[in-house]
């Protein structure tokens, strides 16, 4: 269960960004998680809720955008369904992963005092 260490990395980044802007609170986080990333959103959310207590993220909402897996032939662009042989039946070249392995922090919404 590596979701806890993913959250640890996430929190380190968010805290650094918040400190840089002298933010007083983090209200929302948006992540983009691919279905072939090896990260399970439900477990990630549980880990997040456990971690955020007494941090600048306490009470923040976590939104996770799931990115579906997309394989395609790099030559003819034909898409290849997951579960099929990952080779283009027409061009006989290995498929490439177009999306689905993302573990991305998209956006942080934070309260920044007016200066």
């Amino acid at each position: 269960m590596h979701e806890y260490s993913i959250v640890q990395s996430l929190m380190n980044r968010v805290e650094a960004e918040a400190a840089e802007r002298r933010a007083t609170a983090v209200k929302a986080l948006t992540l983009r998680i691919g279905e072939l990333s090896g990260v399970e959103p439900v477990l990630l959310t549980t880990a997040f809720e456990t971690f955020v207590e007494k941090t600048i993220c306490e009470g923040a909402t976590l939104s996770i955008i799931r990115v579906p897996v997309s394989w395609a032939c790099p030559r003819c662009e034909r898409s290849i369904v997951q579960g099929a042989f990952l080779q283009c039946p027409e061009c006989s070249v290995p498929a490439t992963l177009r999306s689905g392995d993302e573990i991305i922090l998209e956006r942080i919404e934070m309260e920044v005092p007016d200066v």
Binding site: S5, I6, R13, F85, L97, E106, M110, V112
Partner: protein, 245 residues
Amino acid sequence: MCDTCGCGDPDVVPIEIQDKILAGNDRQAAHNREHFTAHGVLAVNLMGSPGAGKTAILEATARADRSLRLGALAGDLETDHDAQRLEAAGIRSVTINTISACHLDARLVHDALHGSSMNAHDILFIENVGNLVCPAVYDLGQQFNVVALSVTEGEDKPVKYPVMFRKADLVLITKVDLLPHLPGMSIEKIADSLARVMPTPRFIAVSALSGQGVADWLAWLAERRRPAHAEADHSHGHGRHHAHS
């Protein structure tokens, strides 16, 4: 401050980040990779289930070519059993006990390397924590990922754990000496599974017990070492080019 009424509430500001959550690990991994390349070391991240035969394959590798200077980092939650086995086989080994963590990350590898002399190795095997899920998520700075899959685990493991197998540069199908005892299991069935999760499925059927496939595995390693060590060869001298009878 709230612009309309001056109530003193702070503004909520959206900050676009668009960066990998594991960017810190990736930076550390890139540093490790530079280190390996600079020293002419081929670093292989060896992953697989607990009991897939990772340690046994490394022992067989050392037995099969005594001229290779092999090093290993052995990741396990507890004990230094694997490092002891590897040392006994002639592989200089360092244990990384993760206690509760289910995978190695680039920092653990970096810290373990600090205590050892990497210059002395042709190949460094990073024997990851036995696990088909978490280790695949973390770049360690290796040049290649190798996954050990034993024939007793079932031919559908690749399609059940696609994240791990997609990232494999090579799959070692281990314990193939047991195939006669496993009705219904075949290399062809495993190959079919692999082709559904690896765009370029490469595998070698090996047995640490009988030695089957070990020569092919050594050839694969030699092929991967070539770019890294073509340059380093001059400075290393020729001590390791022993004749084999």
